[in-house]
Amino acid sequence: MLKLILRRLVQMVLIMAVSSLLLFAIFDTPEFKKRLAVQELGGFAVSALTEESYKSWLAARGLDVPFYQRYANWVGNILSGDLGFSYEKNRPVGPLLADRLANTGILAFFVFALMIPLSLILGILAGMKEGSLQDRSISFISVLTTSIPEIASAILLTVIFALGLGWLPVKSAMIGGFSFRELILPVLTLVIYDFGYVARMTRASMAEVMTSQYIRTAILKGLPYRRVVMRHALRNALIAPFTLIVLQLNWLLSGVVVVEVFFEYDGFGKLLLEAALFPDVEVVQACTLVAVAVAVLSQIISDIGYTFLNPRIRFA
């Protein structure tokens, strides 16, 4: 197990190195540099810019230094804890990233807090009696909600609860500080989109467990049905969904841009999108590192969790 974790960590560092190198190379092309100058100095300024003053801008930004040297510098900075500077937001990347990650964390927390119990309970109820009416209705709802794009349900929810009933605010920019009410619509949108997927996986896993021989043993031991489900089936049925849920972290980190942008919620995804469009090189770089780290860490967590939930591996 330790070996596996180590291997994953090495893997993580490798992916980080490769992806950052790639990004660096892309942003090093003359076209990109030009674009950066346009963004920073304004369009007119560039067209009026002499070759010389463009050069001096490059020098001022440190962009005239050869590629490998800048990459080495950047790596050195990262290692010493300096993530660089955002020219777009005019702030050091470190605190900026921390803010946005905190926001995404809050969002993810509430999405999980709602989605996990909902989807597990529905999945278990459906898988417990495969083919029953309760199974078929839950499966139908799950498929339906998952197939509606996030943007559609975002619009629908806004129209109903914000514009129509006026219960909730339209946007979630949180200009006046953290507001729980502003969080509700984005969380709901994401939960509606996601719970069906997890519920269906849980259902499949539960249905398989319910047809296993040890469940037959438990029933023929004369245990009450409740006990069979709660004590014998549940734990074995939850192993697969657990893994899946942990991996949802990646999606919540960078896969929910649409929802963040729509509700103007300042999360990690929105930061990444803005930085990429600008292009705010050092922010993009830092975000990529974080995304890779989260991806690998969630993989490690799900591996460890799987081992702990599964005594066959734990006590091999």
Partner: protein, 697 residues
């Protein structure tokens, strides 16, 4: 006792029970018109081949029919009350407390994520209202009763942490916890090794005596039924065909199917030359393709048109016997001695020169171990350790042993799928030990062919049978012209007794026995010198096993092929082998001619193995030897003699320290043991005919 019996209420009674499954293809009648009466303390056996409905009966008694099964007719009375009228709650109170069940696959029947203790205490807690502490104490007591060593440790273990035999003891303990009136045992030892099986059978017999539990014992093995039961039902294709007292049925069976079954299993005295087995022709009908009238009709020698194929046949009582019934219209007219087909005696085959010689062949595997967070080192699994033997032309050498003894590893080295770690394997004058299959030329490969245990996954499902055989013929250069190849394919199909138009069929259109015939045809297509048969019939139905075995031997006889027959079944080995190699934990413990192996001097392991094999013959007496414990893991074999942890003759200080010497008894009979040759020679025969005195009783 007998006037008492008249007043007793049967523990269980099935009356005209009919059970069906509903599938997309429609209703499948799995069991039809099943009757059974089980008195207190009685043990009733149900034998039959796979698919005949044995487990369906057991699960119906439990009223657990799954999603698509249903009892469509008849009654099941438990202690006089119809179980079909009971509510869910009443059933729940009976299940696990009054009626308990033991299953075929112990590992799959235990919950992998609960400790054994947790799974055991549930029974007394839910049925007898015991507290957790009391329940735990009772569970521990019960584990000791089923003779599990160190019950405390077992209680705290998860199922995968104990061996298969121990798991089955746990399942039996679980079934006994509430002292049930009725115990259903569904093939309780099929997944276990013979020596472990013998221990479980012993335990079951003791339980019956001590607790007076009534039992229904389901098995496909007639020998096991003889060792455990008082009465017996023989089932064929969803119906009971013969019911009666175990001695009546074993000594004077009246149904042609029962006769055929006994004729096709190798009992002591059967001999491949003088008294060959008689196979039942044909194969089991599918449930929805059963014939009109007698289900056995199409395979029956005594079939009479207009009598056997009309309506539903009833059971007839056999006059003179006690409650002995058979479902055959002609049972009183049949003259067995005159009309029963007998095997033709064949002259013995002279063995030729040495074809295969194995010298100190050794195969070690390196495995990595390691727990959750600790780095593990590497360990060596000694799968084969210094194997030496030879096989001659036209000879059958059987390699016998239980799981983990290294039989399959040996086959893999021969086939070139694994490299030998050390030693020599010579086929003619080609050294095979470190010649992987990719580096072998077509000639060497064609000389050595294999028939696999499982015919279901060795044929390519998308090619026709004919083209698969033809490929082998071309590959080994037997013929290349299309007409010639086709001719050979047809001839091979004739040899394995399959119709020629089967060449165009796809494997899925064949039954298990037919697939195995194709497997044999393919193995013999390249005119091999040596054929390795790895448990070639153990995946097949009992009634087709004999046919496939006979066929294999006929072809071998014609082609003077050397056969290495890998098996765990000593009865088959005794029947067909010329010489036997007995393996245990990667080593050869004993080898010699078949007569040498089955008569003293024995290796202590061979002796126990012989005593463990159930024999379906009431005229035979067996010595009772039950080994303690389980087969050790090959990753961690005992020091000294590999058998020392279980051997009844173990001499502390010698056997568990030093590797035993190889003792020769002449004629190639060799035994690896510390015991004095005189002591080995003085052993009593394990199997012998019952003495006159015993017969008079």
């Amino acid at each position: 006792m007998s006037d008492h019996a008249a007043e007793q209420v049967p523990v269980l009674e099935c009356r005209n029970l009919c059970i069906s499954y509903y599938t997309r293809a429609g209703e499948i009648p799995a069991v039809v018109d099943f009757n059974l009466k089980l008195m207190p303390g009685e043990a009733h056996g149900i034998v039959g081949e796979s698919g005949c409905g044995k487990s369906t009966v057991a699960l119906a008694i439990m009223q657990y029919m799954g999603k698509n099964g249903a009892i469509v007719g008849g009654e099941i009375l438990f202690e006089g009350r119809d179980m079909r009228q009971m509510s869910e709650e009443e059933l729940r109170q009976i299940r696990g407390s009054r009626i308990a069940m033991v299953y075929q696959e112990p590992m799959a029947s235990l919950n992998p994520s609960m400790t054994i203790g947790d799974q055991l205490v549930e029974v007394p807690i839910y049925h007898d209202g015991l507290s957790e502490q009391e329940a735990l104490a009772r569970a521990e007591e019960m584990l000791a009763k089923v003779r599990l060593p160190d019950p405390k440790r077992i209680l705290a273990s998860y199922p995968h942490q104990i061996s298969g035999g121990q798991q089955q003891r746990v399942v039996i303990a679980m079934a006994l916890l509430s002292n049930p009136r009725l115990l259903l045992l569904d093939e309780p030892t099929t997944a276990l090794d013979v020596t472990v099986e013998a221990g479980i059978v012993d335990l079951i017999n003791e339980i019956a005596e001590e607790f007076g539990t009534s039992m229904i014992y389901i098995s496909h093995n007639l020998g096991l039924i003889l060792e455990t039961c008082d009465r017996l039902t023989v089932m064929y294709s969803g119906e009971a065909v013969e019911v009666g007292d175990i001695h009546d049925v074993f000594e004077e069976m009246r149904h042609p199917y029962t006769r055929g079954l006994f004729g096709s299993i190798p009992l002591p005295g059967a001999d491949k030359n003088a008294h060959p087995l008689v196979a039942i022709p044909g194969q089991l009908p599918l449930p929805h393709e059963r014939p009109e009238g007698c289900n056995f009709g199409p395979r029956c020698t005594f079939f009479r048109d207009g009598l056997c194929n009309v309506g539903r046949l009833p059971m007839h009582a056999v006059p003179g016997d006690d409650d002995h019934k058979v479902r055959c219209e002609r049972f009183q007219e049949i003259d067995w001695d005159r009309d029963l087909p007998k095997g033709e005696a064949k002259p013995p085959v002279e063995a030729g020169g040495t074809v295969l010689s194995v010298e100190d062949m050794t195969k070690h595997y390196l495995i990595e171990d390691g727990g959750l967070f600790v780095r593990g080192g590497e360990r060596v699994v000694k799968a084969n350790e210094k194997l030496s033997f030879t096989a001659r032309e036209a000879e059958t050498v059987a390699i016998v042993g239980e799981s983990g003894c290294g039989k399959s590893t040996f086959a893999k080295v021969l086939m070139g799928l694994e490299d030998a770690t050390d030693g020599k394997v010579m086929l003619g004058n080609v050294e095979l030990g470190d010649l992987p299959v990719e580096r072998r030329n077509a000639e060497t490969i064609s000389k050595l062919q294999m028939v696999f245990q499982n015919p279901f996954d060795t044929l390519n499902p998308s090619h026709s049978v004919g083209s698969q055989i033809a490929r082998v013929i071309r590959k080994f250069g037997v013929a290349s012209k299309d007409e010639e190849v086709e001719e050979i394919v047809f001839r091979l199909l004739d040899t394995v007794k399959l119709p020629r138009d089967f060449a165009r069929r796809k494997p899925r259109q064949l039954s298990g026995g037919q697939k195995q015939r194709v497997g044999i045809a393919r193995a013999f297509a390249g005119n091999p010198k040596v054929v390795i048969a790895d448990e070639p019939v153990s995946a097949l139905d009992v009634s087709v096993q004999a046919a496939v075995t006979e066929l294999l031997m006929d072809i071998q006889r014609q082609n003077r092929t050397t056969m290495l027959f890998i098996s765990h079944d000593l009865s088959v080995v005794r029947y067909l082998a010329d010489r036997v190699v007995v393996m245990y934990l990667g080593r050869i413990m004993e080898q010699g001619t078949t007569e040498d192996i089955f008569a003293p001097p024995y290796h202590p392991y061979t002796e126990a193995l012989l005593a463990a094999v159930p024999i379906a013959d009431t005229r035979i007496e067996k010595r009772h030897i039950v080994l303690k414990g389980e087969i050790p893991s090959p990753t961690n074999p005992p020091k000294g003699c590999p058998f020392s942890t279980r051997c009844p003759y173990m001499m502390p200080g010698t056997c568990d320290v030093e590797l035993p010497p190889l003792r020769s008894f002449g004629g190639g009979h060799r035994i690896l043991c510390h015991l004095d040759p005189a002591e080995l020679t003085a052993m009593e025969p394990v199997i012998k005919p019952k003495t006159e005195a015993a017969e008079r009783l």
